[in-house]
Amino acid sequence: MDFTSFFNNTGIAHLEWGNLVMILVGVVFIFLAVTKDYEPLLLVPIGFGIIVGNIPPIAGMPLGVYSEGSVLSYLYFGVTKGIYPPLIFLGIGAMTDFSTMLSNPKLILLGAAAQIGVFLTFLGSLYLGFSLKQAGAIGIIGGADGPTAIFLASMIAPELLGPIAIAAYSYMALVPVIQPPVMYLLTTKEERRIRMKPPRKVSRKERIIFPIVAFLICTLIAPGAITLLGMLFFGNLLKESTVTDRLANSARNALIDIVTILLGFTVGASTQAQTFLTPQSILIFILGALSFVVATAGGVIFAKIMNLFLKEKINPLIGAAGVSAVPDSARVVQAVGQKEDPGNFLLMHAMAPNVAGVIGSAIAAGVLWSVLGKF
């Protein structure tokens, strides 16, 4: 029992440069969340998780998310088995109002168009040499949907779960930075000034029936989306039926909060530098950024194509909201639109492709899973 062996039991003895880099990344995440207000509910748990995951553990002690029997490994179980994402979707469903979508159904197509980011990134990843499953999981980052990305990655490419999750959530937080340049590049000043008619009022009956029918439509086409969309629309039914309000309330408060804490923290803690800082991870980050750009462009361009056929023109900016990243990309649309014309309120309109994008990327994930899962 001497001081040397004691020192070997401390964390400092095993600290590597990579760990320091990652700890710094965690601090930056928290800093951005606190000072810039970039998605604090994601960045604070992930950021602190990164710090925790990069304290070098002592060999033989079950501490990290990857060491069997550790507490963090039990909490990480909900990530590796894809349990947390559907529960988050349950809470999201219980706080989502599909009214704007119901009142302007053609805007839904914008949420489909943005999924081009998913499939192009899939092809790009394949090209770079990733396996089919890995490429599918990387592609879904373009869905701009953290829970969907984690769910698909845990099912078909668990070895890439860490970087994919971090990339998905980072870019979702960075939507206000990534999207505007693409939006300016692809639209003219006139297009950005287009005003749209206020959405109509949607009846309670329509809102109750919607989650049931939408669930049937989506999952009869892509059964792989059963878990995610089942929970999303279930949560929404709990909310809209009004007779189960107390369940909806717990789903969108206690349940989603607890799951968000555990998911963010353990995903963060899964980024131990020793396994995380690889060329592969860096490639995934680059591909992720590209997929966000492609998805944004896909939504905007499709809106312009639609305008060729529509009498009442839609503002192509709202195509950018099709990536989902709810409600941030809708807010970005509002901000960019208002810069051209302070009296233009695009937010409500942007919510329609925004929530449609969530459904769209869940369908895309279902398709990827059902086909690639077999390889």
């Binding site: 197509l109 090209y127 770079l128 089919l132 439509i217 398709v367």
Partner: protein, 134 residues
């Protein structure tokens, strides 16, 4: 698992039996099909509801009315509570008077003496809608 750039190439998109480009196009189509059907359904729904409306309308409306009535009750109660509080304070400025008014959501009410899960049907959502503190 180990990634390297050695495997880069267009051939990857057509490796084995699997044509990744065709797959991507079909995948993209499926996304569009799904959301287009939803879109069409939404367009048709108001028309459908009108047809079905004659039979189902009444019970649903009844529920709506109950809910509305509950809302009104609730709001009357809040009004009364605030008014009572103010009145008491204005007129009896001593310290100990108690404000007691009926609370629908009260856990102690006989309807909530429920020893069963159904007992949870305590309709607290009305309360919550008014004071969404959570």
């Amino acid at each position: 698992m180990n990634f390297s750039f050695d495997h880069m190439g267009v051939a990857n998109l057509f490796a084995g039996d699997f044509n990744a480009v065709t797959f991507s196009i079909i995948g993209m189509l499926l996304v569009f099909v799904g959301l287009t059907i939803i879109s069409l359904y939404i367009v048709c729904l108001p028309w459908l509801l009108k047809r079905l409306g004659k039979r189902q309308a009444r019970p649903t409306e009844a529920v709506d009315k109950v809910a509305e009535q509950q809302n009104i009750d609730q709001e009357k109660e809040i009004l009364m509570a605030i008014a009572t509080a103010f009145y008491l304070d204005q007129n009896f400025p001593e310290e100990n008077q108690k404000i007691t008014w009926k609370s629908h959501g009260d856990v102690e009410s006989p309807w909530l003496i429920s020893g069963r899960v159904q007992g949870m049907a305590q309709r607290t959502h009305v309360t919550r809608r008014v004071f969404p503190h959570r």
